[in-house]
Amino acid sequence: MYKGLAIIFGFLFMGEAIAEIFELSVPGNVIGMMLLTLALLTNIVKLEDVEREAEFFVRNMSVMFIPPGVGIVLYWGLIKSQAIPIFGALIVSFLLTLLLTAKFVELLRGEKK
């Protein structure tokens, strides 16, 4: 367990350090994820060394969204005053992205045949 956790937090630390040193706008945890993926692909890290711990984190991720989400209480006034742009954009953008992306990929695959 400690080995897996050390690897995961090690890559998180590396990602954060890189983001800070190079002043990147990409979140450090995303850089850590990309590095760990590369390390797995190149066999620097073995899947079985991190698999259990990583799956624990991924499986239980949804509870971690709650505390930041509750922060919404601080912005109640903003949401009320901007309800139409917020929800209008949310719904229309959802429809456009889903249908146009699906159509685009379908056309892309159709051409190949």
């Binding site: 450090g28 994820m33 209480v73 992306t101």
Partner: protein
């Protein structure tokens, strides 16, 4: 009372996820219901968000290692990435940019202010990454978290029906569009439809999260 926020978060989430297991309907999404109920409890008992967050921060701190851990499912699906390399890469760029630009410009056209524009731009990527991206570009992470979850719920609720209505039959196209648009909640729904669509959807979600977090901070300067 150092543990109050942790206790409240875990207890409320536990109750709603038990409930969700029994009645799997999209609007009973346990994360969204937990956010609403905890917000109401804080309001009702006049507890400030800061004092709740003082201990609940421990839970959201785990998002860091959780995002890093997404490398494992990504690695495990590498054969699908290879098989559909072209459609996945072109699809993620197309869909990822479309999701950002359409949300940004429609909100702007409807009169949204900058805070809202920055918070809504990452709405199609997985919550964990969206929160970090929103923070980086100067949005409101809490608003982003809620909008992301709502986008996921939309995909979960009507995504498959919309794809059927639009007569999209290609399984790769269906899965990819769902993952890119509605991340985890969309993936959870389309996987019930078709296993290949589900696998491609999960990959679309992960790669769109990476793609968006790489381009959005720079793109947002152009969109502004």
């Amino acid at each position: 009372m150092n543990s109050f926020g942790i206790f409240l978060t875990l207890a409320v989430f536990y109750l709603f996820s038990k409930f969700y297991e029994k009645r799997k309907v999209f609007y009973l999404n346990p994360v969204l219901l937990s956010i609403i109920v905890i917000s109401l409890i804080l309001k009702g008992f006049k507890i400030s968000y800061d004092s709740y967050m003082e201990s609940a921060r421990f839970i959201s701190f785990l998002l860091g290692p959780a995002v890093v851990s997404l490398a494992v499912p990504l690695y495990k699906q590498r054969h699908i990435v290879k098989t559909y390399a072209k459609e996945i890469s072109v699809g993620v760029v197309f869909g990822g940019l479309l999701a950002i630009a359409s949300a940004f410009y429609i909100a702007k056209w409807l009169g949204a202010n900058l805070d809202v524009l920055l918070s809504i731009a990452p709405k199609s990527i997985t919550t964990a990454i969206a929160i970090g991206v929103s923070e980086k570009i100067g949005g409101i992470p809490a608003l982003t978290a809620v909008l992301v979850i709502l986008t996921g719920i939309l995909g979960n609720a009507v995504g498959v029906e919309l794809l059927n209505l639009a007569r999209i039959k290609d399984r790769v196209a269906r899965g990819l569009a769902m993952g890119i648009t509605s991340h985890g909640l969309g993936t959870a729904r389309i996987i019930l439809d078709d296993e290949l669509s589900g696998a491609v959807s999960g990959l679309g979600m992960a790669l769109n999260g990476i793609f968006t977090s790489l381009v959005l901070p720079y793109l947002i300067e152009l969109l502004k």
